[in-house]
């Protein structure tokens, strides 16, 4: 068991001028402009391959970059540029926010972050459907955090569903406890660095099931099996736990807990400066319905919002909220 000691942010954490939630093209581009405007800027992000850019193997139409570039490489370059102007990045998944507070607040599992302004750029990789049995067996073998729960599955057989680097990392964590790990990849390929995929495939405790999806999680008082389909076959695999790291295509706004109005499709509503109904809170990128899902457009929205944030923090001249869009 770990005897490390993690210190979260103090009860009076630093207040940044801008906290950006999400470090994809929209969020990281905003950070370039806010940092360059001398605004203290913090970007909270789940990981380089956690967003839509993790799925983009080649981008050939990003202005100024004629050579095809992987989505993760493009994001890395934008982030490096933001860092060069003084922006800070932290790894973390924001679990909740308080947008009405001054300064505005965001919490990850272990830390609180504060910003005078906030930019929401969490993309649209949220899951839509739940599997049969998933909600009922949550905490009874259904988990979204192997790092948290792996120890409960010592010498048991478990499954992991996903294909990102997060899913692979968690599967490898589980091998320290579980006797066997079935890795259910809904796609034929992986959205993760090659070295990590090689490690997954080579691990003696892991069985990789490509192009395999969960149909149902089976169990009475706890997970007993998963019903999977893939490559023209159906199968029941006996497992005591299923760890789910799948993505979908709906805007990720659950952590906002209804603090911002959303459209019928779940998208955040903004004005022409990308400011939401809450003053000082902006939203850009794929969390918007009006948005065309292109990296260059996300970047442009991030830049537009960053300029609006600068104006907001230095007085309201030039800001004309327009709720027509």
């Amino acid at each position: 068991m770990s005897t490390d000691f993690v210190i979260g942010e103090s009860s009076e954490p630093q207040t940044y001028d801008v906290v950006v939630i999400g470090g994809g093209p929209a969020g990281a581009s905003a950070a370039i402009y806010t940092a360059r405007a001398d605004l203290t800027t913090l970007v909270i992000d789940k990981g380089l391959t956690a967003g839509a850019m993790g799925m983009a193997s080649k981008i050939a139409n990003y202005p100024g970059l004629p050579e095809p570039i992987a989505g993760t490489d493009l994001v890395r370059r934008i982030r490096d540029q933001a860092r060069s102007f003084g922006a800070s990045f932290v790894d973390g998944k924001v679990l909740r926010v308080d947008l009405k507070a001054e300064p505005k607040r965001a919490w990850t599992g272990s830390a609180e972050y504060r910003g005078r302004a906030m930019i929401i750029a969490t993309g649209a990789m949220g899951r839509t459907n739940r599997f049969a049995g998933e909600d009922r067996l949550l905490g009874r073998g259904v988990s979204y955090c192997a790092t948290c729960d792996a120890a409960f599955f010592r010498d048991r057989t478990v499954a992991v569903a996903g294909n990102s680097d997060e899913a692979i990392d968690e599967a490898l964590t589980l091998t320290r406890f579980a006797s066997r790990v079935h890795f259910l990849n809904p796609r034929a390929d992986f959205l993760a660095p090659e070295g990590l995929v090689d490690e997954l495939r080579a691990h003696e405790k892991i069985t990789v099931h490509p192009s395999t999806r969960i149909k149902e999680i089976v169990g009475d008082t706890g997970v007993e099996a998963i019903h999977v389909v893939g490559r023209g076959r159906e199968e029941i695999i006996d497992v005591a736990g299923i760890f789910i790291y799948l993505q979908g295509n709906v805007p990720i706004t659950d952590y906002l807990d209804g603090q911002l109005p959303t459209s019928g499709e779940g998208c955040i509503v903004v004005d022409t400066t990308f400011q939401t109904e809450v003053e000082g809170v902006f939203a850009v990128g794929d969390v918007l319905c009006t948005h065309v899902k292109q990296a260059a457009i996300s970047a442009a929205e991030g830049v537009t919002a960053a300029i609006a944030v600068d104006r907001h923090l230095h007085g309201r001249e030039g800001l004309r909220p327009d709720w027509s869009r």
């Binding site: 005897t3 000691f5 993690v6 210190i7 009076e12 599992g109 949550l138 073998g141 729960d149 409960f152």
Partner: protein
């Protein structure tokens, strides 16, 4: 060998320097110590050494059973975090990993003696006429767990009827089994309702109300 390295000590000292009142860390172990008893004892002593506001006292669960009974401590390692009064903040198991965050937060809350909960929560807690026992099961590697632990401890500070325990699921496997813990955080309220995950305050409040309703129906 110290448990806390120089960098962590510096940060802890900085945070504890802002405490607004005294805090006592009352730790329980026994002569033949449990697996993490000696580390827990060492931890409270190292933390107490970092602030003039903090004192550490170590008791033996068996030899000092009267003190244990007074604080309702029935297993080790245990830490009671006590401010101006005993608010009912308990840690069962070593608060290592992410739970060290919860320990620091508990010390800050106990020192302040006041909490920033929503008005609806404070009103419900102020009307409590029967004891509420919140047990939050955790693992040290769970980044979501401190949110649940800190909220439960705040509720304890807000009401003398509430006792809130952090419980290390790995150190107390019999309790983890009893309460069917297969994922953390899992909060058990009065043995009757439970919450999976780090739920927001309104969700926890509703579960607390549900536990109170269940008790009334039993009676």
């Amino acid at each position: 060998m110290p448990l806390l390295d120089a960098e962590v000590k510096e940060e802890v000292a900085r945070r504890l320097g802002t405490l607004t009142g005294p805090v006592r860390l009352v730790m329980f172990t026994q002569e033949i110590e449990c697996e993490y008893c000696s580390e827990t004892r060492q931890l409270v002593q190292e933390v107490a050494d970092l602030s003039a506001h903090v004192t550490a006292t170590v008791y033996d669960l068996v030899a000092d059973s009267a003190r244990a009974d007074e604080l309702g401590v029935d297993k080790i390692p245990a830490i009671a975090v006590i401010g101006e009064r005993d608010y009912g903040i308990r840690f069962y198991g070593i608060p290592s990993g992410y739970e060290f965050t919860s320990l620091l937060a508990a010390m800050e809350t106990a020192a302040a003696g006041e909490v920033d909960l929503a008005q609806a929560t404070l009103e419900t807690l102020s009307r409590l006429s029967t004891p509420v026992h919140m047990q939050v099961f955790v693992t040290p590697t769970c980044p979501y767990c401190p949110q649940a632990v800190v909220l439960a401890h705040k509720m304890a500070v807000a009401s003398p009827m509430v006792q809130s325990d952090m419980i290390s699921a790995q150190e107390f496997p019999h309790l983890a089994m009893k309460y069917q813990v297969m994922g953390v955080p899992r909060t058990v309220i009065n043995e009757v309702t439970h919450i999976e995950g780090a739920a927001d305050e309104p969700v926890v409040l509703e579960k607390l109300r549900e536990a109170l309703r269940a008790r009334r129906e039993e009676q």
